[in-house]
Subunit: 213 residues, 4 copies
DNA sequence: GATGAATGAGTATTCATTCAT
DNA sequence: CATGAATGAATACTCATTCAT
């Protein structure tokens, strides 16, 4: 048995890091950040408490790493590097993608919602994302991020363009408001839904597309 | 110097009890239950730590008292003792009331949302309200409560009745689903909105009524 | 209705003071001094917490008052002002009195035993009583007290006098040791005995008298 | 620097656990359970407060562990698995053993006496031991225990058997009563005796054997 | 005298974090 | 790399004592 190569070591490290983050995310999302102890996480990840601190500087650092990873994932997921022009097809794609990612990453969004409910966190978050600064500085350089302000601008333009084909009392900003609010309602409904209760999931998605496309 | 009368004592108690609950609600809602310390509450209520425990048995007891009071308030607010038949007028009234109470009791709903995000709490809560049992037992007898199951039944019937005047592909359950989801989105949007950002509040309410009446 | 006289006031005061001490003694004896709260005592004596401090300076002051009263009672009980010469009749009388007071003042002896088990208290106590100083200084002057050292001396002399009528291997100090030890065993047995279990109480007293007279 | 082995960890744990229990026993016995603070114990064991809770769940858990260990020790001490028939030799052996264990484990018996003085504890204790149930459930299964009821039965039979060789007014139950009472007196005398005052210890033991054998 | 609201020092307990091995 | 023993600051809670009325 030859000694493990540097690369193998790195892979093992990466795997364990991922494992810890997965376990932590699950517990944070379901029981709350404060209510989750490092001990709990370590136990469920089958490692020692001490080792945790080999991978993350602190409990908050672990949380930050989870968020950072999530942002990257979402970024990749949407392939957000687009030109800022939304066709009807793009719009539908965006909604379907959103629905899919909500389903696939329930825990992530539960955690996210939870964090957004704490004033201090929410303000910081909004500053970063609306202000156009990237959320988290990692050691390795900045995370690729997206800016809510950009996305909102793109969507706003989408709704404004549709004004021509609508009755004259059509208010694009109200429409956008309703759309975002509906997406929030959709999100909050389904991130806490059991897998059994999904009957209306697809129908609801189609309905939303119908309404706001 | 004559001693204080029983009535005076009762008034002092009632006032201070209310004060503590108000302060606590604000902090619980904005920073989270776990993140809020008894010390913090005491400081902001300008009382000593010890006095808290003259009025409430524990931090959880304080939370329970707040919820109990809130449930009573909401109950009074909606004058819920109705016959279970919803006219279009009732429906509109219900939505407007809902909007109003969200605005007036932001903190309460923030707290409520927060609690619902913890698995353990949510399950217990749903058991109580869906199961038809009242949430909290007070010393003096049960709190007046309402049962989600009843409300949902009433609203469902409302949407089913409207089927006749709608196209034949109209799905009342889907419609109800969308309505509830929209109300959730509305709620979560406005319980975290500054008072300055209210431009669209009324327009949104009207729009929702338009859509689902 | 004429206003109460000074004397009446004093009597009321005295009665209440006694009531508090009785209630406190019962609780101290059965649950322990530390485990008994001022609140508990006040409630059971049907007075306010504040009033307690009108009668006693502190919880420890209350305890001291109870002990002080008890010592006086015991003093009166035994009519201890005797010449220090114990006849056989006196000896029997002493044992019977002892048995009687144990039965009548169970709580007092339970408390007493409890206190003696704390090193700090025991040492202080022994210093006072063996050293010939009176235990407690009250505001009104010293309590009449008795000195264990005197009593032990008297009893010792009693056993030494009996040496003549006994076999030559008779050891008066051992005999006294056994006697005191037996009395302790008798005490500890009966201060924790239910009133139902008294079958052997009298027989035991007679037996002890038989053995050591 | 190689990491510590499992065995090393186990040894550290065992040693420290024992240390804490020893220190705690000493303080509980001399100052009382309530009057002894965790801080005190930690200081005297030269560990941090927090570490206590690495080894015991609570102050009461610590007490329970001490009692559990003590019961096991006493059990081993007496080699109690006997047939229930007491010869004169056994009887003498029992008394001498008892005397020895009182001397060697003074603190333990002080604590024990103290606990027995609290009504709640005493009742629970008597229920367990007289009722024939073992006192403490440990995680690993029950502690070996002995039942007071069995011991008392054995001793009773011993005294009844001796009736034949005694005068006809001999009352075996009274005799047993006196014996137990004497043993209690012996115990309470010597668990609070300085090591210097032991002059009469052995003589007393011999005397008791003489009297009741 | 009498009340009970109010105080604050003290206590048990938790938990993120460190560190010797 | 890995372990879990050890730390200590922070937290909920208690209770004797004070004091305005």
């Amino acid at each position: 048995m030859s000694p493990r190569t540097q690369k193998q070591f790195r892979e093992i490290r990466e795997e364990k890091r991922t494992l810890i983050m997965d376990v932590a995310l699950e517990h944070f999302a379901n029981n709350g950040f404060h209510a989750t102890t490092i001990n709990h996480i370590a136990e469920h990840a089958a490692i020692s408490k001490g080792l945790m601190y080999n991978y993350f500087n602190s409990k908050e650092g672990l949380l930050a790493a989870i968020i950072q990873r999530s942002v990257s994932e979402v970024y990749e997921y949407f392939d957000i590097d687009r030109d800022g022009y939304l066709t009807e097809g793009d719009f539908e794609f965006f909604i379907r993608k959103m629905a899919q990612i909500l389903k696939e990453k329930q825990s992530l969004w539960r955690l996210f919602l939870q964090l957004m409910m704490q004033n201090a966190v929410r303000e910081q978050f909004l500053n970063y994302f609306l202000g156009g600064k990237s959320l988290i500085k990692s050691g390795n350089g900045d995370v690729k991020g997206f800016f809510l302000s950009d996305i909102i601008k793109t969507i706003t333009e989408y709704f404004i363009r549709k004004k021509d084909s609508k009755p004259k009392d059509y208010d694009p900003l109200l429409e956008m408001n309703m759309f975002i609010l509906t997406m929030k309602g959709f999100a909050i409904t389904y991130i806490y839904m059991d897998q059994d209760d999904e009957n209306y999931f697809d129908k609801t998605v189609n309905n939303i597309i119908e309404l706001y496309k």
